[in-house]
Symmetry: C2
């Protein structure tokens, strides 16, 4: 349900606009609107291009509406943040000049922003601006006479395509890490800068140690040197921040504040710094849109043990109803006031919690310098946010029914069309988006769809582009990993389908992946068990055949928030966070044959209490599968499955069929009928 965009006429000039704004009692004059639009254009457009109008005036006259749209169109046409072009050598030269001006011998350029999030606003794409590298993780280090860029295994090919490797020596982030490079390159007395907003203490520790060993020093900068030379750097993003209704949140923000404040007080804390925007969104029951695919309102907060909150966020991005929604226990202040508020905590010698994984060094340093006792622990919102309440779970089920309908329509369409050999990865992804967009309360995809045909399916983090866009044709496997943001919740589902006739090997591999998926879906485990303890269940059937997959088995998923959320995780990397009822995680084992095909079967599941069998001594947990999308039966080799596994698959398909059948069109119903039949029938 997308709003009709405002009619875009020719822009009549600021004087005209001033008059229209004044007449409607708007918050800004034309100059103010231009400033606002700089931030609006620096945020993703989202599904409603006119959503920003709420920041100017409620119910604008048609004339004002049209002029605002025209101004936006004009500014958008001229908008150039320098991120679309391949970076010129001048950018690196300008940065080096700026460093010299500051007396620095080098500078560290991470990919992350102040919030250590997976998605960053365009303003924070400093690594991309400087080097051209667009991957989601990486780091560059610039010295006076040389520079290096560090990327992980996903990006070793991409970095050579995007980056001028004569200027930035490409290195492997894990095997040839930045601290080794620093150790080799740093000379005694060197001063290498870093932006303390963009690093955590832990993240910087090894670089610090390496520099120190080489006799060099890491120096925090006051302001980021790149910002000084990135002349057309985007503004801070200003996507509208709206209340997240209690019908979706299930618990009022006041309740959450009170509950967390009591816990802080009990643990002897005066306050906690909240720097993760999803925590902030959860705590205050608000949603924004400052980064792609995730309804995050970027900002910082201090949660006091009294239950009040200082929210540091540009007030311009709050739609009017947010102010009463936040109430008088939440003080909204500009981000520039954050430092002074930390100083106050310091002067009070307060004990303050800062998240060890995401808290910016800038904040903990400022607190400590001011006299506070900083305790690096876990963001107090992380665990309650991860444990969805009954309302959130009920909404998640609704979102998954809606997503199941879209996926069923898509897979039915694909089954009819793919064998013609005219579809491509891009056209299929577009079609899937169209089916999803037709669903109620759809707001966005929850990440860029992975649409991989044949060999592209074997690239775990494949991102289709015009250059790689492959045709979907017989006989190949097609892997599609996609998700949606509904007001009711966030989805994430992967299906692998055979176009035409699969090979026996493909059926063997698919069935082993499915066995792992079922082992996890049917696991029962005592309270206190972590996701790491369950990871092997999803791999054992693959291991027996001497194969494996090189990614985690499950990540936490937010409630109309981040599709990747902590603190729990199902992974062979140790994670000691116990799975708790209400946590939503993905269940996604896979298998990838390089150059040939990829297989992944992903459902979201919610941790739930399960009925204890007779004689049980410990409270047992298990998983409720949320995702409702058929699993391709033509890829299943029943001879490899146990009767119990077949029973699970048949029961799952019966549930999918029963739930979706009444909600789909006749053509999809025909397909669904076949796709959900029991194995062996």
């Amino acid at each position: 349900m997308t709003a009709q965009p405002a009619q875009s006429l020719v822009y009549q000039g600021d004087r005209d606009l001033d008059e229209l704004l004044r007449r409607d009692g708007a918050r800004y004059d034309a100059n103010g609107v231009r400033d606002l639009l700089a931030g609006v254009l620096a945020a993703p457009e989202g599904t409603d291009p006119d959503a920003w109008l709420d920041l100017v005036v409620r119910n604008p006259s048609p004339a004002l509406r049209a002029q605002l749209a025209a101004l936006k169109a004009e500014l958008a046409a001229r908008y150039d943040d320098g991120l679309k072009q391949r970076p010129s050598p001048e950018r690196l030269a300008a940065l080096r000049q700026e460093l010299a001006r500051r007396g620095l011998d080098g500078f560290i350029v991470p990919r992350g922003d102040e919030h250590q999030g997976e998605y960053v606003p365009s303003r924070a794409e400093r690594l991309a601006w400087l080097t051209g590298f667009t991957g989601s993780a990486g780091m560059a280090i610039v010295l006076a006479d040389r520079a290096a860029i560090f990327v992980d295994g996903r990006y070793t090919l991409q970095v050579r395509k995007e980056v001028d490797t004569a200027r930035f020596e490409p290195r492997h982030l894990i095997d040839e890490p930045p601290h080794d490079w620093i150790a080799a390159q740093a000379r005694p007395g060197m001063r290498i800068g870093f932006d303390p907003w963009l690093h955590t203490q832990d993240g910087l520790a090894r670089l610090h140690a390496s520099a120190k060993r080489a006799g060099a020093e890491l120096v925090p900068t006051d302001g980021n040197p790149i910002d000084a030379v990135w002349t057309n750097q985007p503004a801070e993003p200003l996507a509208p921040v709206r209340p997240h209704d209690i019908r979706f949140a299930g618990q009022s923000a006041a309740d959450k504040r009170e509950q967390l404040a009591a816990k802080l007080a009990a643990e002897g804390f005066a306050a906690a710094v909240i720097s993760a925007p999803d925590s902030l969104a959860w705590l205050l029951n608000i949603r924004g849109g400052d980064v792609p695919h995730t309804p995050l309102p970027l900002g910082f907060a201090i949660l006091h043990a009294s239950g009040t909150v200082d929210l540091f966020m540009d007030p311009r991005k709050l739609v009017p109803e947010v102010v009463p929604h936040l109430g008088n226990q939440v003080r909204v202040e500009p981000r520039a006031a954050f430092g002074a508020a930390l100083d106050q905590l310091g002067q009070a010698r307060a004990r303050v919690a800062v998240d060890a994984a995401t808290g910016p060094l800038w904040a903990s340093d400022r607190l400590e310098r001011a006299g506070a006792e900083v305790v690096r622990g876990q963001d107090p919102c992380a665990l309650p946010k991860a444990c969805k309440n009954e309302t959130e779970l009920a909404n998640a089920r609704t979102a998954h029914v809606r997503d199941g309908v879209a996926l069923a329509r898509f897979l039915a369409w694909l089954a009819a069309e793919a064998s013609k050999g005219e579809l491509t990865e891009l056209s299929a992804a577009d079609r899937l988006l169209a089916f999803r967009s037709a669903g109620e309360n759809f707001r966005d995809t929850s990440f860029t769809t992975i649409s991989g045909a044949g060999a592209n399916g074997a690239i775990v983090h494949y991102r289709v582009s015009a250059a790689t866009n492959a045709r979907i044709a017989p006989d190949m496997l097609y892997l599609v990993d996609s998700g949606a943001q509904y007001l009711e919740g966030t989805t994430d589902v992967t299906r692998t389908v055979a176009i035409g006739q699969p090979t026996p090997e493909q059926r063997d591999r698919f069935t082993r992946v499915l066995k792992g998926h079922i082992a996890l879906a049917t696991a029962r485990f005592p309270k206190g068990t972590s996701g790491s303890q369950l990871d092997t269940l999803a791999r054992a059937a693959l291991w027996q055949a001497g194969i494996d997959y090189d990614h985690g088995t499950g990540h936490g998923v937010g409630s109309y928030l981040s599709v990747h959320e902590g603190p729990q995780r199902i992974s062979k990397v140790p994670n000691t966070v116990a799975l708790l009822p209400g946590m939503i995680v993905s269940n996604e084992p896979g298998y990838y044959k390089t150059g040939a095909y990829g297989i992944r079967i992903e459902n979201l599941v919610a941790v739930c209490e399960v009925e204890a069998p007779a004689g049980a001594e410990r409270p047992l947990l298990g998983f409720e599968t949320l995702t409702l999308v058929p699993i391709d039966r033509t890829l299943v080799e029943p001879g490899l499955m146990t009767p119990g596994e077949i029973a699970w698959l048949d029961a799952y398909h019966a549930r999918v069929r029963q739930t979706l059948m009444p909600l789909v069109d006749p053509a999809t119903a025909l397909w669904l009928d076949v796709a959900t039949r029991p194995i062996g029938s």
Copy 2:
């Protein structure tokens, strides 16, 4: 094969002994022998009470032999280290006086010694001497007006029996940890002492932080204050140290030194401090006997990157052939020279590795004060020691055949005798020891045998005593967990047998434990997998029934060394050490019904490479089961087992039968024939 003890006559006096010693060209006069005997009596006697004679003279005359034995007997009769009596209140008072004299307000008394080992020599039993507590883990903290003792869940009952709780408040080591008590009790300005030999940096970190927060200070002591007031404290133990033959070690000490030295050099280290006696024993191919059940020679070493070793160990305990065995690349120095050697490394500004888990704070502090760069990492011997070479593995198989014979004889005897109801836990354990002692190259049990009938079997760390000694009678389960030290290797095996008729519940539980055991025994996993990743395989069948066990699933086992050895472990506690070919670990899931019965099935297994199935892409590892002892078929419920599990059990029993049958007496053979029949036959 135990040596005949020397004939013990009346001791004729030192003058007589001096003459006999002189005549045989012994190393000592009577006074020297008396000094030596103080250390000999402070070590466990072992299986050969005359072993110590080798430290005095080779091939003594019968007269000298008799007089030495007589003197030992006389000193042994008078030997009183104060550990047999319940401690008098005077001990605590004397300690407090000593603390006051040193200007200390308190003192921390850990159970561990300088080597952080599981077993400590009697001299280091300071916690037992002060409090009476004899458990294998714990800590006391003494302040001027109060004191507390901290023990874990295993010992909460025992501590109340052994310790005067009016003087030592008993607290739970995990739930009410020492640092919380310090935080509550310490006052600003307090100086609380600790012996820096007995703590690692990590072990002390939280106590340090708590004391600091309370405004107090932890102060390292120079010498242990308890030693100053424990007037009859045993001497340093002096058990003979002997070469460990290359037939058993499989690799010469020179090779080991060279290999490790090259690695140290490559990593930029000048030296490594070796403080774990099992590392020292492995590195130098020597074995001693300073602590119970484990052939450890206590001492310290510095391994230089040149390949030479400084060994700090009382030279009196080396049998003469050790000196040529060590060769001229190993300098033997008294322990008192250790500090000066560390100072030398400091003066050379050397980079020195100290084991983070076991290295005494005293050593790293001394190094750092002297100017060295200390890197806390892993003992360089830990991983190569864990990965047994082909010779060690072949010997381990031999040791397990021998152990299997002893166990088969024991279980056959038990099957014949137990139903009469006249056996007790103690008499059964004694009989098992007798069967083992009859085996070639048997040196000791590898730990105190756990012999638990009925409800005692449910106490995981049960240690039978005269007070708890239960009768073994129908109808109950009997659990026996025991191990041996053979020159060829260390064993550890647990079997649970039904005396009379087991209940359906017992069969259900036993079978689930067995399913977990088999799941682990048959696991295949790619290189790089850690034991933590496999732990859940052993629990899943129990979890399905809502039950579990509260101990690890597997520990590393040494090669004629410690029965508990790292760095690998199969446990739900995260451990990132990858399992490597040659590592020996236990496979010991269990189930314990408090007040009723306990079940554990334990085999030792060796990590091995397994043949890759067709299409395999990754090198696969699996386990070779070493232990050869029948598993009680009457406790197996075949209806709960898969065909694959039954096939494993039948194949295991066929192997046990084939291997042991030719080696046992006719009565045992009859029993073995039945005990190893296929399930269902």
